[in-house]
Structure formats: C-alpha cells, structure tokens
Amino acid sequence: MAGYLARRLLWAIPVVFGVTLITFLLMHFTAGNYVPGLELNPNLKPSDVERIRENLGLDRPLIVQYLDWVGVGSIIQAVGLAGLLGGSHNIQPGLLEGNFGRSLIDGTPVLRDIIERLPNTIELTLTAIFLGAAISIPVGVVSALRRGSRLDQTVTAASVGGFAVPQFWLGLLLILLFSVQFHAWGLPWLPSGGATSPLGGGDVVDRLEHLVMPALVLAFFYLSTWSRFVRSSMIETLSQDYVRTARAKGMTDRRTVYVHALRNAVAPLVTLVGLELPGLVSGALVVEVVFGWPGIGLLAFQRAIQTDYTMVMGITTFAAILVVAGNLLADVLYAVVDPRVRYA
C-alpha cells in the first residue's frame, strides 16, 4: 500500500506539471500580454503602459514568464542565478511557494479570493453529495429487492429521465416554482439566489433556506447515477454464494440483506462518491451561476467574463490539483472500504 501510494504520488507530479503548462499556454494565447483596461485608459502615456507591463513581467520571454509563474524563477533567483532568467525584473514567488498571483481586476491575491469562496462551494457540494447518497442508497436497495416490480420500473424510468435533465434548466424550474409561484400564491417561498439574505440574514435558518434548492439540483444529478449503481451492485451481491450460505444457515432475510449484503453492495459506491470529490470545486459551476451562489465556480465564471486571466488561471490550477488529490483519495478510500482490493 505504501509503495503504491508513493508511486501514485510520483505520477501525480508530471500530471500537475502538465496541467500548469496547458493552463499557462491557453491563458497566454487567450490573453497574450493583455491587461484589462490598460490600453484604453486615456490618462496613461505609452511610456507608462510600457512600465506597467515591465512591472508585471509581461515583456519577458514566454518560458521565463512560465517559470516565474510556477515559482521556479524565484528559486533560481534565491540561489543567486537570476542572470539566467535574462535580467533584473521583479521576480515574485510562484505556485511552488503557494503564490497564485494577483487578480488583474482588483489586485487581490488569487489564493485569498479562492480560500474566501471555498467554504461556500464545499458546503454546497458536500450537502449535495450527502443528499444524493442518503436518497440513492435506500432507493437502489429497495428497487433491487423488488426487482421488476412497479416501484423498480418507476425508479428505473426516473433515473433514465434524470440523466437527461439539464442542471441549469432544473434550477430555473425550481426557482420558478418555489420562489416565484409560491410567492405569488402567498405560500412560504424560498430565496432564489445567493447564500444569505442581504439584510439581516446569515443565521442557520437563513443559510439553509438558500442552500436547499442549489443542493437539490446538484444532488439530483448524483441520484440518477448512484441509485442505478446501488441497484445493480445489490442485485449482484444477492446472487453471491455467501448470501445463499447465510440464508441456508437460517438467517432471517432482513439480517442477510441489511447486515451481510448491504455493506458489500454499497462499498463500490465509495469509489463513485470519491470520483465526485474532485468536482467539489468545479462541479457546481453551472448551479452556482444559476443560483448566484458565491462559490468558486461563480467567481471563475464572473472573472472569466471580465477577462481577469490570472484569477481564472489560478482557480483552474487549484481545481486541477484538487482533482489529482481527489482521485488519489478515492483509490485509497476504496482500498480501506473493500479489503478485497489490494494494491501491489
């Protein structure tokens, strides 16, 4: 296990490196040397523009800019080889030193903005994952136990349909029903956007009211996949020899199903849930936009539209690192839950 972990960690290094390279190149070709509003500002002389560019290091060769951003630049400088980088420009610490750069819009450190928004996104996705698992496991188990029944058929149809519902559309429909129509009908209604009410909000009830719709939309997405998965996994488990043995020994149905079979049937779900962990940050982007939920996805979306390239670049890299870490975690979790899995 330890050896396997070490190898997986080693593999992760080139992957993360590749991610930073792709992100950087995409950003470079998207943005080039563009700084929003710089050329358009009538108060700046061309020489000022030139100086600002120089300060931002945009006049340097591409490879140097990349190394600086990753943080190799400042290491090279630290060991006294700055000459290699062709000049005396102002080298900032980079990704390796935990510096994701500064926003082009308001100059705040990218990492600070990310960390500020992170709890909101994690709150939303974890709630959705929890809701998804809490509903899909019983639904999957019951439809496996009553295979072919009307209930099973309904669940199957619903999950096939669930796959086809666009998240943003479901979000809009929920807002239409629970915010707009309920309000019009004089019923208690749910807020249509944000994480808290602008005035006097922020207590637990207020937060939950804002959380429920976006979390449901996200959970809905997991439900279709997971309930199908639990169902087929349970059907397979129930046909195993040890289940027959348990029954043959006179064990009650209830005990056989809920104590012996259930555990083994649900174990593989851990991998599926684990696969969603990387999506903790990015998976909710569309939902965050629809509900104005102030998470990382909404931040990335808004800043992308405002051409705040360093911010989008930082968020993408941050999310990608989480994906790599999350995949690793999913593998480890699976080995912990299912002892049959052994990594050589």
Binding site: V160, P166, V180, A320
Partner: protein, 308 residues
C-alpha cells in the same frame, strides 16, 4: 465525456452463443437484438425526427411559420401562443417555434460533429498507445491524465474566450476534452484485443502494423466505439446547452436552445413558456440519445444477450 461505468467493455460473442445460433454473425445478431428493443427503436425514431426537423428548418421557416428566426417584431413581444405565433414570441417579438426549429440545427450539428472529432482523435490515440505500448503508451496516457485532471468546465471557459465560439469552434472545444475519456476507454479494449491469437496469427503471416491496426484492431474495437459514441452524444448536447446558457457558446442572434434559456431567465416571471419550451427540447433530445445509446450497448453486449 462519457461515464465509463455506463459502458461495459464489449467482448466478442462467446463460442457457445455462436454455436447455438448458427448462421448469424455478430453484427446480424446485434441488429436483431436492437430491432427487438422497443424503447431503443422509439428513441432512434425521435432522433431521426429531430434530424429531419433540423435539416428542413429553412423550409419550415419559409413555408410553415413564415418567420425568419431572427426577425424581430417589437410591437408584439411576449405574445402568448396563437394562430400567428404557434408557440408565442420572445422579448424581441421573435417567433419561438421558428427559433426552436433552428435550435435543433445547432444542437444536433454540434453534437454529431463533436462526437465525430472526439471519437476520431480518441481512437487514433488509443490505437497507437495500445498497439505500440511501452514509452509511447506511457506518454500518451499521461497526456490523457493531464487533460482529464483539468476540470472540463474551466477548459471550456478558457477556450471559449480564446476562440470566438461558432458551431465549429465550439465542437472543437468540447471535443478537445472529450477525446481523452474515449481514448482511455478504447485503449483498454485495444490492450485486450492485442493479445488475441488472431493478431499473432496474422502477424506470423507477414502482416504489417498498419494492416493489423486497420483491418484487425479497428473492426474488433468498433462495437465499443459505437456504444461510446452514442452515449457521448447525450453528454455533448448537455454540455453545449450549458455553454450556450452561460453565454460562452453560440451567440445571439443565432438561436440555440441554450441561449434561448439564457434570455428567458430574465423574463420568466411573466413568460414561463420561454423557459419550459427550450428546456423540454434539450430534455427530449438527451433522453432519446441516452436511450438509443443504452439500446446499442445492450445489442452489442453478448453477456446481456437473451437475458432480457
């Protein structure tokens, strides 16, 4: 792009099955299986109908609705469905029915083009990586890992800023992420096909790499590719609609179901149907594509054959 859990790796039919039904080859058997699947046939029918709608959109616009999808009538915004405007009008008085019909062109055009690009690139990478193995395999699969590690939604955003989104660039953008999961899937199949006896036999007869790949690997991996492609279509339609909705895809005034929804969310308090209609179109298309994909998978998977 596709959920690997959805696609079971297809094996060639076991010998017993072939013996039990003499005279019917794998493709014939799959076809029979498919044509016995009611839901799959219905889904295929819906897809064919949607394709027809998309192809004949200009005719519909000219002869049936008498509206151009971008023609505005500022005197008649948000009109309810009527004899003149079958499904009402939007905020600029544009005919919703005509726009929906044209939206089918965007959705299906981008859907099929994206799947075609992703499948071509993904399969090519998978064949090269899986067949030659060793260093080439390691390098190519690491590239796949990298692409899959970046959350796709950020890649879409970055690239939509980079390229002005048109139907073609949008297909390339979505395919540039989608090829990776297809490559991973097809490669695993190639790895197992590579070691089959017929490969060794053909090689010992003097066949070259190219012949082995094109004449022996590709045809045997084809069922898996078809299954993966048909399930990928549904995913692409959803992704494309979401990008249009976010304003990162097809730009107005060109009508697409996604950007119609984007407009509608501003006015949906008083014009509910503007939200309901395009969403329903997306839902039906994705549902049909998924059901068809499932039917194809069931038809090609011999392990499911006769289980019904």
């Amino acid at each position: 792009m596709i959920d690997s859990a959805q696609v079971a790796t297809t094996q060639p039919p076991p010998l017993e099955a072939a013996r039990a039904r003499p005279g019917r080859g794998f493709w014939r058997q799959s076809w029979d299986e498919l044509s016995a699947n009611g839901a799959g046939l219905t889904a295929a029918g819906v897809l064919v109908f949607l394709i027809l709608v998309a192809v004949t959109a200009p005719l519909t616009s000219h002869f049936v609705t008498h509206y151009v999808p971008t023609a505005q009538d500022l005197n008649d915004p948000f009109s309810k469905p009527s004899r003149i405007h079958w499904l009402g009008t939007d905020e600029l008085g544009r005919d919703t029915f005509t726009r929906l019909v044209y939206g089918a062109q965007v959705t299906l055009g981008i859907g099929f083009l994206t799947v075609a690009i992703a499948l071509t690139v993904g399969t090519a990478v998978a064949l090269v990586a899986g067949y030659y193995g060793r260093l080439l395999d390691d390098v190519l699969m690491r590239v796949v890992d990298v692409v899959l590690a970046i959350p796709p939604v950020f890649l879409y955003i970055l690239m939509s800023i980079l390229f002005r989104p048109t139907a073609i660039t949008l297909s390339v953008i979505i395919a540039s992420v989608g090829w990776a999961s297809l490559a991973r899937l097809v490669r695993s199949e190639v790895l197992s096909l590579r070691t089959r006896d017929y490969m060794l036999a053909t090689r010992s007869l003097g066949a070259g790499d190219l012949r082995l790949i094109l004449r022996h690997l590709v045809p045997n991996a084809l069922p898996l590719m078809i299954v993966a492609a048909s399930l990928a279509l549904a995913q692409v339609v959803l992704i494309e609609a979401a990008l249009d909705f976010l304003g990162l895809g097809i730009q107005p005034p060109t009508a697409s179901w996604g950007n119609m929804l984007s407009n509608a969310q501003v006015y949906f308090v008083h014009s509910t149907w503007l939200v309901v209609l395009p969403g329903t179109c997306i839902f039906i298309t994705v549902l049909a594509a998924n059901l068809f994909g499932n039917a194809i998978r069931d038809a090609f998977d011999p392990r499911l054959r006769g289980a019904a």
